[in-house]
């Protein structure tokens, strides 16, 4: 470190310039990490908070948008209940609607139709839980959008009035839309497009979107699928079946992968130029008898100091900016494990880039130290 630290001080502007680029990449990384956590929350937090381990969709449903296509009936639910290892199975209805509150606030709602006495019923953080035939429990975030407990919302076109009896304690959203839990019977009417006063066809009263399952790890889901004629997705896999989820996460992932690659290349390019510009000095050091491991260690320690310092600065700025973003309506959530992982990856890949440049040190010929300085 003797030489490394003195060089850092001597060439501080050059290192600062390179460090700023890495720091800016780290800022971007933190923001992207927050955005992708935020989007995941916005996209599937409603599913994440359901106490289920898997969803069984009707057999043959296209799985990339199964939540909007699948239809299961009571018989399939009953079959699942009988499977060994399945602790609970209940019908789960899902659909997106536009609605308007009695105070004129237009809202999008993701309806989660559940049996009020089933394990899927939400616990209310405010107001009461499900019970009344037209009573709904909305996500806490819907209150931010202008709804109140006690409001009545009317579903567009069908004209069904629903009364907000409670709100959840956490964010429950699905496909960037606030979740509203409602009794399955009410959901079945809406799903069939049956308005107030009209009669619900007998068949529709048997239906839901999927079977929500809470099972032990030992449960044989394939056997359940065979018995009930369904296709099961574990809860995590089912996120991909919600609207837009795969496209959003894979886009962000692609950007992040590119950023990692760019950062490794920037650091590698800098240290390549830096090492080449010091070729004569390094030859002098080799002639003076500096061991190769000494020079390699010194070079890597230097890279590590620059990387850690600039990435720490970048993460600090990123977190500060992220703090400003809270409450601006942008889906943004900073999660310590994700940010830590991103920082470590940046350091690691930067070091890899530096490594590729610094190994040149080993091949420098001490003979070049003799003769004039170039």
């Amino acid at each position: 470190m003797f030489l490394a630290l003195r060089e850092l001080r001597f060439a501080r502007w050059r290192f600062t310039l390179m460090g700023s680029v890495v720091a800016l990449i780290a800022v971007l990384m933190v923001l992207l990490s927050g955005l992708s956590s935020g989007l995941v929350n916005d996209g599937v937090s409603g599913l994440q908070r359901l106490p289920v381990t898997a969803f069984a969709f009707d057999g043959g449903t296209k799985l990339d948008s199964a939540f909007s296509r699948s239809v299961v009936d009571n018989q399939q639910v009953a079959r699942w209940r009988q499977q060994p290892g399945v602790r609970e199975a209940a019908p789960f209805g899902n659909m997106l609607v536009n609605a308007r509150s009695d105070r004129g606030v237009p809202v999008d709602l993701a309806l989660f139709g559940v049996e009020p006495n089933s394990f899927l019923a939400p616990s209310a953080g405010e107001g009461t839980g499900l019970g009344a035939p037209d009573g709904i429990v909305v996500s806490r975030t819907a209150l931010d959008a202008g709804l109140r407990v006690g409001d009545t919302v009317t579903v567009d076109r069908i004209g069904t009035p629903l009364k907000i009896v409670g709100a959840t304690a956490d964010q429950h959203t699905f496909g960037h839309v606030d979740v509203a839990y409602l009794p399955l019977a009410a959901w079945q009417r809406l799903h069939a497009g049956v308005g107030p006063g009209q009669e619900l066809p007998a068949k529709a009263a048997e239906q839901a979107t999927a079977v929500a399952i809470r099972a032990d790890d030992t449960a044989d889901l394939a056997a359940g699928d065979a018995a009930a004629g369904t296709t099961t997705l574990a809860k995590r896999e089912s996120y991909g079946a919600s609207p837009g989820y795969s496209a959003e996460t894979s886009t962000l992932m692609l950007i992040q992968v590119f950023l990692y690659a760019i950062s490794a290349l920037v650091v590698g390019a800098f240290f390549t130029v830096w090492t080449i510009s010091r070729k004569h000095e390094l030859a002098v050091l080799r002639a003076m008898g500096a061991a190769k491991p000494y020079l390699l260690r010194d070079g890597l320690a230097q890279a590590l100091v620059v990387l850690v310092a600039s990435i720490a600065a970048g993460v600090a700025v990123g977190v500060a900016l992220g703090g400003l973003m809270g409450g601006s309506g942008v889906p943004f959530a900073l999660e310590a494990p994700a940010v830590t992982l991103a920082s470590l990856l940046l350091v690691l890949l930067g070091l890899l880039g530096a490594c590729a440049a610094i190994v040149r040190v080993a091949s420098i010929d001490p003979l070049a130290a003799l003769g004039g300085q170039r």
């Binding site: 002098v284 003076m288 008898g289 500096a290 300085q373």
Partner: protein, 227 residues
């Protein structure tokens, strides 16, 4: 580490061929040279006569095709690359053209770097004291670009002497200096050679400074003749 007796540098029958195949050039052709501790030997000769090759061989930077190089009785031609690097670090001091100091280091740090290169070194000289000995104490915190050519060479000489070398090899020390500075620098070399009882070899073009040397040998086409 065995405390070997100081016997100086002995080159015997050293031959070095450069290039390969039909383009082979004989840079050194059966060179014999002996330099005792405390002796400053100047090597003169036209460009391309093999002076630099002689330094490279004597300094264990490269190995000859034939012949042996012994320093204080140790045959350095038989050593591995790594062992030669360690030997250079612990027993050989180099003074390069125009100092070849490291731009990032102050004068004092140039000397301290040498002690930092080897954790095991036991008998290095005190950098601050040595810098004072070469008359550079007042410039200890300056970096090379803040020093004159003569000052750089003084620091370079001090750096070469930090590790108590057995052998001091000097490459064109006055190439970038005016007459007065050249004399001062070579005088310093002669003086330190005596005081440190180091065997010194100086390659130079500069006929002016030969008066400070104990002996002058001339190199022509890879052969040495006593001048």
């Amino acid at each position: 580490m065995s405390s070997t007796e100081r016997t100086g540098l002995v080159l015997s029958g050293v031959t070095l061929r450069l290039g390969d195949g039909d383009d082979t050039v004989t840079a050194l052709d059966g060179v014999d040279l002996m330099v005792r501790p405390g002796e400053l030997v100047a090597v003169v000769g036209p460009s391309g006569s093999g002076k630099s090759s002689l330094l490279a061989i004597a300094g264990a930077l490269t190995t000859p095709d034939e012949g042996t190089v012994t320093i204080d009785g140790r045959d350095v031609t038989a050593m591995s690359d790594r062992a030669r690097a360690a030997y250079r670090r612990d027993h050989i001091g180099f003074v390069f053209q125009s100092g070849n100091l490291l731009p990032a280091l102050t004068a004092l740090d140039q000397l301290r770097l040498v002690t930092n290169l080897s954790k095991k070194r036991i008998d290095s000289r005190d950098p601050a004291q040595l810098l004072a000995d070469v008359g550079m104490a007042h410039r200890a915190d300056r970096r090379p670009h803040q020093l004159s050519g003569g000052e750089r060479q003084r620091v370079g000489i001090a750096r070469a002497l930090v590790g108590h070398p057995s052998l001091l090899l000097v490459d064109e020390p006055t190439a970038a200096l005016d007459r007065a500075r050249s004399h001062e620098v070579v005088q310093l070399l002669a003086q330190e050679t005596k005081q440190s009882a180091v065997a010194s070899v100086m390659v130079t073009h500069d006929q002016d400074v030969l008066e400070h040397c104990d002996r002058v040998v001339e190199m022509i086409d890879g052969r040495l003749s006593t001048g």
